[in-house]
């Protein structure tokens, strides 16, 4: 029973982690919460549904295509809704983000529809029973993809040239600009990566629960945002760990406290973190203050 709860929580946690990464990366470089991020995740599920309906597309290809599509979607959102608002008060950017979120979810209602849709299977699901514990191949795929994506991201951020530029941009954009780095391009890359990861999470969750619907971004986005805060907003390992921890908290909470309390438990965590340690687990001390 306990093991099964941990497995269920791990599946949830990995998706929260994937979405939380986008929140954290964008916050790291632009210091605002991209509220449209949850809807990018939802679009990942929608692209997955569209590719599944076309049929005959192998799963890895569908995953990569979905990541590219959602990545471009994220870049487009940044270009249209945020780029012109670099030097305005943050309230304005937040309003713009909420607007982008509404546009994306309504667009999905128009393109995909207003119902909950089942996703045609990419591959046959196999079940493995170990004692009283049940795994299925979907969970392995979900965990595997999440872990690989996180490892690749970590390598990219810490070892590659562009990763260095991303870190520099989040450190200090003006100085980075003076160094001759095109920060607009770097921010586009940041959005692309974050959105591609959210899109992957959307596709995986769409397949895992066999349910895609146009409002799925809101709650997942909120929970991923909580994960990002828990891990320390702006921190990449923090976002990963925060997601995994929140997954476990929610999994145990829904089992032992009340099954309809999932969201309430997640947001209670958010409140506690903000009260006790607003910087989260890995957050830099000055992350909530305006840097000059």
């Amino acid at each position: 029973m306990i093991l099964q709860i941990i497995v269920n929580g791990l599946t949830l946690g990995c998706t929260y982690a994937l979405i939380a990464l986008g929140y954290s990366m964008v916050y790291g470089s632009l210091r605002f919460i991209n509220f449209a991020h949850g809807d990018v995740y939802m679009w990942g599920a929608c692209f997955g549904l569209i590719f599944a309906r076309i049929g005959n597309i192998p799963f890895p290809v569908a995953l990569i295509l979905t990541m590219i599509c959602t990545g471009l979607l994220g870049v487009t959102v940044e270009f249209l809704a945020y780029r012109r608002l670099r030097n305005v008060p943050r309230v304005v950017v937040t309003a713009s983000a909420l607007g982008a979120s509404i546009v994306l979810s309504n667009l999905a209602r128009v393109v995909v529809g207003a119902e909950t849709y089942a996703v045609p299977a990419f591959f046959e699901t196999k079940y493995y029973t170990v004692g009283n514990l049940v795994f299925n191949s979907l969970q392995f795929v979900l965990l595997g993809c999440s872990i690989v994506l996180m490892i690749v991201l970590n390598w990219f951020i810490s070892k590659s040239k562009y990763g260095k530029a991303i870190r520099a941009t989040s450190e200090n954009m003006d100085v980075t600009n003076l160094m001759g780095i095109n920060t607009n391009l770097i921010i586009s890359i940041t959005f692309f990566i974050g959105s591609a990861l959210a899109g992957a999470a959307g596709l995986l969750i769409g397949i895992y629960y066999d349910a895609v619907y146009s409002t799925m971004g809101y709650m997942a986005g909120m929970k991923a945002f909580t994960s990002a805060i828990l891990g320390g907003i702006g921190s990449i390992p923090g976002a990963m760990l925060g997601g995994l921890i929140l997954g476990q908290i929610e999994s145990f909470g829904t089992t032992y406290i009340s099954s309809s309390m999932g969201p309430a438990i997640a947001f209670a965590v958010l409140i506690v973190v903000l009260l006790v340690k607003p910087t989260g687990l890995f957050g830099a001390e000055d992350v909530h203050s305006n840097r000059v």
């Binding site: 709860i5 207003a114 629960y209 089992t255 309809s260 969201p263």
Partner: protein, 387 residues
Amino acid sequence: MKKNLKSKVASALVVCMTLGLLAGCGAKESTDDGGSKTADGDLVIGLDCPMTGVNASFGEQLSYGAQMAIDEINDAGGVDGKKLALSIQDDKSDPKEAATIATKFVADEKVVASIGYYNSSCGLSALPIINEGKLVTIVTGSSPDISEQNQKYGFRTEPSDKQQAVYAADWMVEDGRKKVAILYESTDYGMGQEEIISEILTDSGAEIVCSEAYILGETKDFTNILTKVKNSGADSIFLAGTYTEGALIVKQRQSLGMDIPCYSSSSMFEVAFLDAAGDAAEGTKVQGVLVPDDPSETIQKFESAYKEKFGDDKVAGTFSGHGYAAVKMIAEAIENVGTDPDKMAEYIESTTFDAIYGTVNFNETHDLIFESLKRLVVEDGKFTVVE
């Protein structure tokens, strides 16, 4: 630069607002859809149902069924030489909308009766208005509260939740279920069902080993709830909810390697449930009033006419039957006693109707008395009547 941006933002805002206003007006002014022409119908029947949102498929069924009856009556010369027309209003499953619509129906002199109100909460908010305005109304919401209101001008054709829960519980007792898990949505409907089912099962010696609530439209991950069910040693599950969650539950039950049977009431008797659940739906036991595969001649004729009219992919379900039957009842009442609401209500109260799903009449609280609920089980991806 800055100024330029400001003026751009301002003009964009103006454009958005104008669009918003236009959209708002559009929504307000479109009183009908489904191509019903109110103007040339002398007698209008108002239909309030959800045409958008999670229950849109039921609204579609109601409106198609009603439209079929209207066309049939008009083709046969109308009622007392007058033509009937249907005014379809979308309540979006929102009780506030339903109240507004009911007010509109009452105020419109052409409207002689109203039908629909798929969601119990919509029916409950509309009925007092309907009653004050003396408009004969046939509702399809299944909450027991509707008959407790016992409105003079309101009637109900869907078996109440209570009737359905009793029916389902009897079936489970008959099947010898001893340890039952109940999963219910945290709405009036779910909680009401859960209460009745628990009572009947415990009275008959079964044990409720697990009772879990979930949030309608929000809970998607049932794996933990089901892990609990699995651990409680349940031999069956009762689902007190609607088909979207029902489909997720049966699918996730399969992925946890559980093969205990699921029971539910008419809320799971939907083609949409089969589509969403796929082969995980096999063996689910539900109940229904109007069964598309019913071999009876009336039903088969109705089904084929329905398909011909609205397309081969449409299936006339329970609510198509309700829409159809309600229009027919109202037409019969007008035929016999005219359009005076008091006389119509009296007529409907005291008459035995020969409706699409059998011979029916209303009891003292205006609930339909009929014995036509049928047991159904999912076999090979289809609902099959259990003999």
